[in-house]
Subunit: 498 residues, 2 copies
């Protein structure tokens, strides 16, 4: 290694804690709760969990794994294959782990991403025994400087009795200064969170912990996995187009100006494509107050459309990462990474008045949204931060393509098979077919707008027929109850809803 | 009238605006949006809406009626019978109006109670044309002093171009000083809401509006309706007992001390009974940060158990009201009424760390709660503030009796027919059978605890059978999808779930 560790471990007394990942992993005992860095495939500890998986293949070893959100480098897969995970909190997106969750072999606690550390702090769930945090450096006073995500790392490290730090030498030391670590004070003396704009810097550039808690330091060079988002296609461009048109209407009505309001966009292809769509609009001086910053954030900055972005992680495609790295000094003053408790905090989201854009798996004719469960039973990834944002947003937008699986599934259904966001929390629904503005509408009015604007033409007659028959039954929210879930039942049986 | 109007209308220039309710009601035109005071049968304007109903019986006149929450004095009934209401926002609890809502004749927009004025302020829903606000007095500068509720009155009066004030001479002038009117500033310059304890006084004791906006003053003497809560019975005592036992366990675990945390309790018999149950506990120095203050608040104060209560309204039984009135000077320093946007504000609820106790209509084996829709279609009252509190509470508790209608309905079901509070927002479920602590549990673990602790014995075999068969299907949240709503379908058809 050619790196100078003086820069990386500035607290000289800690340098003798350097050990191999295997040695560090031996600090972790069977049944422990591990609090690990990592949020949307960014900034996860990499060496220690792999060493742990290796151990678990040879001896009985099962842990509760808590993270910020999803992990890269196939860590959830590798740990799950080694039977090392008994419980997983609060989010995941790995196909193999998902299989074990749906088989009931791993207990998955699917939480609003802002809430996990609140429950930990209150000791309402079992505490973290060991925190494993990826860092670019340890400061003179033992402070831990995270890498490409903050996630729950700060609270994990602060609350755990022992901390393992993975210094990732492939992550530039220049990341220092990017983070803003603010932890709410304990009740009953909690004060307002002083974030009043996306740019508000209210904490420390490192996680403050007593150096003696750092039980091991492991050096790695493994990189973050790049994101897997797909390029915009015709449908995602149409979704972006409908939303842009709507927002321009809001500008003309004087409810917004061309700077819009701080933007949040969920992880994934569609939300990223929607933000990309803002490149071709008159909107300018945009800001983000989001959880994950994706390629689109940097494209908007490059196009002079976006001036600042606050998030909890940076997750880029390999191409974008390569482009950005040499220009990092240019971007850094426009970026800030916060603990996910703060990036997603209801207090701040409501105060700033955010336009929240999240992806739905499906929604129903009354505006209820399913973000997590296929046919009401099979977990995909988890609710993530969508609820933190949607409930308190100025505008709560959910986007999805109107059909899935080549048209055999309609993403607009009579009744969603699982509810993550209730009718009370959804303002705008968008598919490639069009946009439904639900603000101020009663359920019967919502149904008419959603059916007219969002449903795929191939499914419209069926859904119109359902709604017409539901109306003959009366009710504030009319349903043919015995048929309400029948589309999901058929899709379970045949793979098709019709 | 023996009252001295000098006390009641201190801005002398406004005394010539006094007119009859009929004259004032003539200011209201067909199609207008009326923003009226009133929250949980407390402090609603009384004379003008009755005059309006009278007019609507003789001429075509339909309005959008926005309030804080439910109205007393049969106003919703009277207005609905007169066909005067086309739209109703954001809550109601009147059987006749409910019938018209379920028939699709009145459009009802069922909202989180903290959010209505946010949408009004942002002009996302049609604005209030005229505010009709009950008051005890108008100050020297034209400020309006509310009566027994604040609700949405302050924002209605501030945002409306015209205000009608009903001075209610039966409400004591001494109510002045009880209210704390704070309105969040406009974005993007919104500052933190400075409420940091239930006692925090952060605003004005009156609604500040330019006196020239006061278009009419109407004098009334009509009293608030008294509350209709029933006395505790064996079941509600058992619910209170289970919750008390749980909270004492939390104290023993060191997560709470005997002062607990600020309490919120929903409107109605069960929540009131639960608070009454705290009379026989070691808990002391309790405080409330709630929306409605019921009999139990004052009983706890009288017993020396509660030191302060912040709410948005006071709704008492006739007996309690008579007891309290002569002692009002004694209670007043321990009470504070806020706009419902602030009493229910996610920012404050999360900051204070509230124990939120709300009533469920039914919940399912995975912890989803239905608060509003019978058999998924028929609206009862609305979600009210339960979501404002449950989402951000330190402890989110939902209570219900385990059975309804003499046992023909189980209130614990395989799948709720409508979701108001998702599994992500529910910590504790209580029936007279027992309590389920869902914190940190995955869906399959929740199902076991809920079935074991909360289900009525008469229904347990059926629900165990459902769950056992669901488990054979796999899934993070196992269901027999084609049967999931069958209990509700049967109850629609036969009035019984079995």
């Amino acid at each position: 290694m050619t790196h100078n560790l003086d820069d990386r471990i500035r607290h000289a007394g800690l340098r003798d804690r350097i050990m191999s990942a295997e040695e560090a992993a031996r600090l972790i005992g069977d049944g422990m709760v591990l609090g690990m860095s990592g949020f949307t495939r960014a900034g996860e500890a990499k060496a220690v969990p792999l060493a742990l998986a290796e151990r678990a293949r040879k001896e009985p070893l099962q842990i509760t794994l808590m993270t910020g959100a999803s992990l890269g480098n196939d860590l959830d897969k590798t740990l799950a294959e080694a039977h090392a995970i008994s419980r997983r909190i609060p989010f995941q997106s790995d196909p193999f782990l998902r299989k074990k969750i749906n088989a009931g072999e791993v207990m998955f606690i699917d939480q609003h991403l802002s809430e996990t550390v609140e429950q930990l702090r209150n000791r309402q769930i079992p505490g973290v025994d060991i925190a494993v945090i990826e860092a670019v450096a340890i400061t003179e006073n033992g402070g831990v400087v995270p890498t490409t995500s903050v996630g729950n790392s700060a609270s994990f490290a602060i609350l755990a009795p022992k901390v393992i730090v993975e210094i990732n030498l492939s992550q530039p030391v220049g990341l220092e200064g990017l983070h803003d670590i603010y932890i709410p004070s304990y009740r009953p003396n909690r004060m307002p969170i002083p974030v009043v704009t996306p740019e508000s810097r209210v904490g420390l550039p490192y996680i403050p912990i007593p150096p003696e808690k750092i039980a091991a330091i492991v050096l790695t060079e493994k990189q973050d996995s790049s994101s897997t988002i797909l390029d915009p296609d015709e449908d995602t461009r149409a979704i972006a187009g409908h939303l842009t048109e709507f927002l321009m209407h809001e500008v003309r009505q004087g409810r917004l100006d061309e700077r819009l309001a701080p933007l949040q966009a969920g992880i994934g292809t569609i939300a990223n494509a929607v933000l990309h769509g803002f490149l071709d609009t008159p909107f300018h001086d945009l800001k983000m107050y989001s959880e994950v910053l994706q390629d689109s954030t940097f494209d908007l900055m490059d196009a002079g459309k976006m001036t600042f972005a606050s998030g909890s992680s940076v997750t880029l495609s390999a191409r974008k990462y390569a482009q950005m790295l040499p220009r990092f000094a240019e971007f850094k003053p426009k970026l800030l990474l916060r603990p996910q408790e703060i990036s997603n905090h209801p207090e701040v989201v409501r105060r700033l008045g955010i336009i929240a854009i999240n992806t739905a798996l499906e929604f129903d004719i009354y505006g209820n949204v399913n973000s997590t469960h296929v046919t009401g039973t099979q977990m995909m990834n988890g609710i993530g931060g969508s609820g933190d944002f949607a409930r308190n947003a100025y505008l709560s937008v959910f986007v999805t393509k109107s059909i899935a699986k080549g048209g055999s599934i309609s993403c607009v259904v009579p009744m969603v098979s699982h509810v993550d966001h209730t009718e009370h929390d959804v303002d705008i629904l968008v598919t490639e077919q069009g946009l439904a503005d639900l603000r101020g509408l009663a359920p019967r009015e919502r149904a008419r707008v959603i059916i007219a604007n969002c449903v795929h033409p191939a499914w419209r007659p069926r859904i119109e027929d359902y709604y017409a028959r539901a109306l003959t039954r009366s009710g504030h929210t009319p349903h043919v109850l015995e048929e309400a879930l029948s589309w999901h039942v058929r899709s379970q049986e045949t793979g098709r809803m019709d």
